[in-house]
Subunit: 360 residues, 4 copies
């Protein structure tokens, strides 16, 4: 009800603030008997952590994960898995200025109005740092999906500002994504993006971009009509991510411009298996997976923290000028990639587990 | 869990199939003491019903609503409101062909694979006809929002295929939307859209388009971080709607192309009230309403039923050719408008009621 | 959230008031492919309906059920099953007196205080008549449990006031229960109970009693620790029933008086199958079914409507005297039996479906 | 869905195993602005912890609580409160025997069958030690209830085996309960109980008992008909507690033996306030609080771990003899008192927060 649990069968309860003692999540509903260690989770946290490359924030957090419950002698037991990541780099900064104003583009104002109190250090609960617990849960979901069902999830950066990569999402591999620090599997375009980000940072500004995600090997039948469609749960998950402002499945907004005769994905037999000639619908029909690759795209706004003067309001309700100080992330899109992966994995596993009920 | 209930405090359980005896919904959590009659609901059902104009399907359904519970002496009692709409025009048609094939673009195939059985008459549960119960619930939500909080919801058609209207969403009125059968508040563009739809129908084809929705007078503080953001619940709701393939909040996909200095909505004082100079974020910060107009856009694919030959597969798994017969809806976008309204109202009321908990 | 939905996978949404147009429920999550007709449901409604024997109320309702959705060509489709029972005998009575007072033992006062409005006709939503929708859902659950898992549920009256039957719950059959109008499978005791009820009715009073329920053939493993134990969901369900004031599993309150060495159910092998020598725990360990018969007991208070003068308060807040008029049910316990059955079936099926997730 | 979250608005997600690294809970939905420190929680954990007196187990755990999130500058922020209690005394013991058998009265067998794996150390997830996270959450709920609504919760031991105290639940104070180590507010009876427990321990056996709980100052209107009654949520909560085997509200099972004219609690005016002359119903009508003291009783079975030989089965399915070794708790009832308090507080606060929605 208060919004900190995601998923129904595979349910993730997220907690923690940007500069609190620790952050984490409790994962309920993980199938028993899965081999699981901190290493399985750490690899995804390392993809998300700050300071991993020159295009991301300088905050220095090793984000070491600890599993506190739900695993016995190296295997999951079916009981809740509690994950904790202690904060280290939380001390020094002076928050006296930020505590007294509402930064544009941040949630300072809405949190204060909603709760009458807010943890202003690093954005508190509204910080994207709170996704660590979700990325940890997603790492577990990815592992379960792969081992139990052969399902694979791959996300990558497609666009940074006006630079758009031409990529066939059907053939991208996880290794392709990790080849460069922008996480764009087209090397040449990635280099251009990197240059743009570096340039933007120098100007004290930030840039937006888009992430594409593809989910492969999904059996036919995931998704619950009419309200818990796989499509709508993915949309809900993606818009959850800090800075995400949209979602499109398959050809998305471009379907508005098509004739029905162009849109329909006609069925045919491919090696004796029912398949579709095109995949405009993004791997779903009626919100239920149809066995084709699920693919969708998410746009992210540029981070609001920039080193340029902005007009804003202080907590006394007076108009003031404000320029952010200290570290600043010129482009969060490469770090959004493992978060998109994580949410996609959580949604897919949740629906996969529901789907098993029908298969008995 | 099986996906037929939407909302947490204001919760709508939808039931019914396209050609079953009846369709409807049970609305739980409606505040007590609200005046409510069938008329309040009928007006929205009439906006959604088939056969209302020459640009929509010829199916003849009066869609008369009956309230069965939850209202006593003209007022809601706080107990579940059960709504029923009996089907009338459900008899004649011959479904023997459709029962044996999987139509492209429809959910025939995925329902059959998921459940091992499907009601093939008019698409059964996967038909957009099932939204009647939701539109009825939305009519109630709209009324409660207006009376309890002064919140208003207005949706309209912005685009049909390549024809895009230039409209300032901040000034559109409900009356503007109903001025023409396309529900596009720009008369001149609406006429062009109407002509395109008529032309498309003659060719036996269908067209897609987009709907814009604006929610006005929302207090600051609706939305539950981190997973039940108002933004993500709206996204989930919209992608739920049959044929919807995307969602964008505020400037949506365009934010990917912006600098932070262009994106940030700077705060200022407008008549002593905290306001923002631009509204790129779509009326939310951190997924919580910030008091500005909430606005978003949804693309709809063209209806898959067209009078053109398509390749497909029959239930024996053989490749065949198929051409749809009988009535066909060349463009569903005008009829999607009241559905967008309804879902937006349900989500907003659900969050408004949760918000009251904090206001005590 | 507003309390009218029960169950997570097999979820029943109940609606309707005692003297409204109709009552019913929407059953979401019923497995597809089950043969289902109105007859399957009617048989349980007939066990619950008023006026079925001389020991129950004289209200004349045939309680004819209609299935409106979710069944296609005689089989469930996996989509919501909407059930409706129209009220017939709802007219004549004069409610002017009751509308102005709070009857002792009834929920008039608490509904008025909670909602600020109440449907005072026949108790409105607080009437036990609202269980018709639940009994209908329970009939479906019973059928699914029997066909899918061989699970059987049998409830019966054990006690009416001070008359207690000595019955071995392990051997009672459904036919035994229906042999007499009191639904007590011990004929001699049943006769005594019947006489007591008749005598009580003459005095214008009412009597309480207890119902015992046994669930047979439950596989090992139903129930979710730590909060959704099978035991606690059964307790929640039973206390839900109008007039129920308690719940005890296995030896229940008597366990307070035992030594551990008397309480423990020791394991042994019975025909090669793990079994327990005693069944003090009621068929569960740690809230999870252990394969033994689940058995529990529920006490019901006498109906508050009696033809004796009582002190009470009117809606102006004045002390008054009140004597109920019209029909009156001297003992509801025999009619509670199918309601206990229904709730037990809904809880058990809900947990059985969850259990299937683990069995893959 | 997997059962480790309790509550809807005030929702507690519990995690941890008896001998894992740590245990804890995440509390979502706590109102913002409440002063909260570890001390507020520690006091309740100290009432529950092992080794606190000679009548409880010798396990030595200081159960020090740490708050990891959701509190900023000493006040709750409305975001999730994460609570952790690290295990200390988890090392030495030899579990090789227990890992190979199913102990009678414990959940070893059902966990193994359900999950195919179990943490056998100290009972793992099935241990009552997992209630620490819930007691911590309950401590917060108690504080919020008292400060926001003046609601008070008091539980105590009424019976140990055949020794039953005669206590007027309306007048017991928290101080009365803590006066002796048995937590029975009747000193003389408490002494007898203490002697019985000591004697039982010498014999290597254990004893059961009952706990009574009273909730005072509850406003009229808490509880959601028809399925989320305050009564049924309390029943569900109580049966959740390890070793609890029953629940009775008000006069409970005794209502089965009453006439309606004896049962009905007649309304009258007491100092101008609507009150009832008796309180047989336990402070509720129709499952909604009526303003009178809520009171209920819960029986607990004797702990299954005893130093007497029992028959059982090993994991190979062979019949064996088994005698428990090491520390053993002759009577858990005094330590169940703070757990009953905690669950009662969580349920009451959850319903109190829902109730606020209606009060606008």
């Amino acid at each position: 009800m208060s919004g900190n649990t995601f998923g129904k069968i595979f349910a993730v309860t997220n907690w923690g603030e940007s500069h609190g003692k620790a952050l984490g999540s409790v994962i309920d509903g993980c199938p028993p008997g899965i081999e699981l260690s901190e290493k399985d989770i750490q690899v995804e946290l390392d993809r998300r952590k700050p300071g991993q490359s020159k295009v991301s924030t300088a905050r220095n957090e090793s984000d070491n994960v600890e599993i506190l419950s739900g695993v016995f002698e190296g295997k999951t037991t079916g009981t809740p898995i509690s994950i904790i990541i202690r904060n280290k780099d939380q001390k020094s900064k002076d928050y006296s200025e930020i505590s007294k104003i509402y930064r544009p583009g941040h949630a300072d104002y809405t949190y204060q109005m909603k709760y009458g109190i807010r943890d202003y250090k690093g954005g508190g609960r509204s910080s994207a740092r709170t996704t660590v617990g979700t990325v940890a849960a997603g790492a577990i979901a990815k592992k379960v999906l792969k081992e139990k069902a052969g399902i694979e999830i791959i996300s990558y950066v497609e666009q940074i500002k006006d630079i758009v990569a031409e990529i066939d999402f059907n053939v991208v591999t996880p290794a392709d994504v990790e080849k460069n620090i922008v996480r764009c599997p087209d090397e040449k375009t990635a280099k251009k993006m990197e240059n743009l980000i570096t340039e933007t940072q120098k100007q004290g500004d930030s840039v937006g971009g888009t992430v594409v995600c593809v989910i492969k090997n999904v059996p036919v039948g995931l998704g619950e009509p009419v309200f818990d469609k796989l499509s709508s749960d993915l949309a809900r998950a993606m818009i959850n991510i800090n800075a995400a402002k949209g979602f499109e499945l398959g050809r998305g907004f471009r379907v508005a411009t098509l004739y029905g005769s162009e849109m329909n994905d006609c069925f045919f037999l491919e090696d004796g298996k029912i398949s579709t000639e095109s995949n405009n619908s993004g791997g779903m029909l009626g919100g239920i997976s149809n066995g084709m690759n699920i693919h969708f795209r998410v746009p992210f706004k540029p981070t609001p923290t920039i080193h340029k003067e902005m007009k804003t309001i202080n907590i006394k309700g007076e108009e003031i000028k404000f320029t952010a100080k200290g570290r600043h992330d010129p482009c969060v899109i490469p770090r959004a990639v493992p978060i998109v992966d994580a949410f996609a994995a959580i949604v897919t596993l949740d629906h996969y587990l529901r789907y098993l009920i029908y298969k008995r």
